[in-house]
């Protein structure tokens, strides 16, 4: 279930690449499409299947993306534990750990506290810091050649947005009371016939907003990689050495743009999470 959607699209893409290679006659477009799909597709490192009673129930294989998720989590754990440890001992934090502190201060003072207020913001600050740095590290790890972007898988982005959805509904019901949360979705003072139309619309609106979060993150990460690979594939299509210079220059420019997009997508995801959770948790007037 974890790789279901990406596996099905990639299988279809594999088939399409093979068909394209045979049908088009020329070798270039098919192999380039195949290379593109190989870069975006997940490579299984250790196959672990869960076979209760003989049929295949769950595919728990350790793939390259799983390894990237673990590397990002380990990186966050190591860096921020040492940063917090030195902060507690009030000693010099060193040059490289000092680099992380402005990001934390920015998320806290410019994103969470202006929108959510001090007391409520302090309660939900760990969630937003985790989301921001996890997405940021996953995006940045994908830019290193040889490693793949964990957030370029729809399941990973879906899980990240599912935490937002779970917090909206769960903490909304905890903070406001189980029934008043659903009652506050519809603004008070509405005429009686409109409520059966407005209430499902609001509920679907919450789900659609989280779905847009996942699609935004997923498509940004995938599109960046595909465009870079397409530009480098131009060299192979043209069969010419002189195309290499503009192609590599464009790819370099797109690489820098992708660096910017990595930061931006982490920022946008966290900001929209803050706004949605604030709307759910703050007592509505």
């Amino acid at each position: 279930m974890t790789n279901f959607l990406s596996a099905s699209t990639a299988n279809a893409a594999h088939a399409a690449a093979e068909a394209g290679e045979h049908a088009a006659g020329g070798n270039d477009a098919g192999t380039i499409m195949q290379h593109l799909i190989e870069h975006v597709y997940d490579h299984v490192l250790i196959q672990i299947d869960w076979h209760p009673f003989g049929w295949q129930w769950l595919d728990l294989s350790i793939t390259k993306l799983t390894l990237m998720l673990w590397v990002a989590a380990a990186l966050i754990f190591i860096l921020f534990r040492s940063l917090a440890g030195r902060q507690a001992k009030k000693s010099m934090r060193g040059r490289y750990l000092n680099f992380l502190e402005p990001f934390v201060i920015y998320v806290r003072d410019q994103m969470v506290y202006p929108i959510m207020g001090d007391t409520l913001g302090r309660k939900y600050l760990p969630l937003f810091l985790t989301q921001f740095f996890f997405i940021l590290f996953c995006n940045l790890l994908g830019l290193i050649p040889g490693m793949s972007t964990a957030t370029s898988n729809l399941a990973v982005c879906g899980t990240l947005a599912f935490t937002t959805l779970f917090t909206i509904i769960g903490m909304g019901m905890v903070e406001q009371g189980p029934l008043t949360f659903w009652k506050n979705l519809v603004p008070s003072g509405m005429p009686w016939p409109i409520i059966p139309i407005l209430f499902p619309l609001e509920v679907i609106g919450i789900v659609i907003k989280c779905f847009a979060l996942t699609i935004r993150l997923f498509a940004n990460m995938v599109a960046g990689h595909i465009v870079i690979l397409s530009f480098l594939g131009l060299i192979f299509i043209f069969h010419n050495y002189f195309v290499a210079l503009p192609a590599v220059a464009f790819s370099l420019f797109l690489y820098v743009l992708e660096l910017f997009v990595a930061f931006l997508q982490a920022f946008i995801f966290t900001l929209l999470s803050i706004i949605f959770i604030n709307m759910a948790v703050h007592p509505e007037h």
Binding site: A12, I215, R216, A223, L264, I268
Partner: protein
């Protein structure tokens, strides 16, 4: 035949989505720049709001792009 129509529609759909997103973000950038020129003290706030709105509009365009990609693999 269906493969042909699918690829053609994927291309046209992507182009239309990008036209809409480009026009929207262009108007957004124009208004933001005009606001920053009128009142340079508010440039930081305007810049932040501009980035947020651009990311939201771009998110919708990427939604259409993902649908076109799924279509072109049929």
């Amino acid at each position: 035949m269906t493969g042909l129509v699918a690829h053609l529609s994927a291309g046209i759909g992507a182009a239309l989505a990008i036209i809409g997103a480009g026009y929207g973000i262009g108007r957004l950038a124009g208004s933001a720049l005009e606001g920053m020129a009128r009142q340079p003290e508010a440039a930081g706030d305007i810049r932040t709001a501009m980035i947020i709105a651009a990311a939201l509009i771009e998110g919708l365009a990427f939604l259409a792009l993902v649908i076109c990609l799924l279509l072109s693999f049929k």
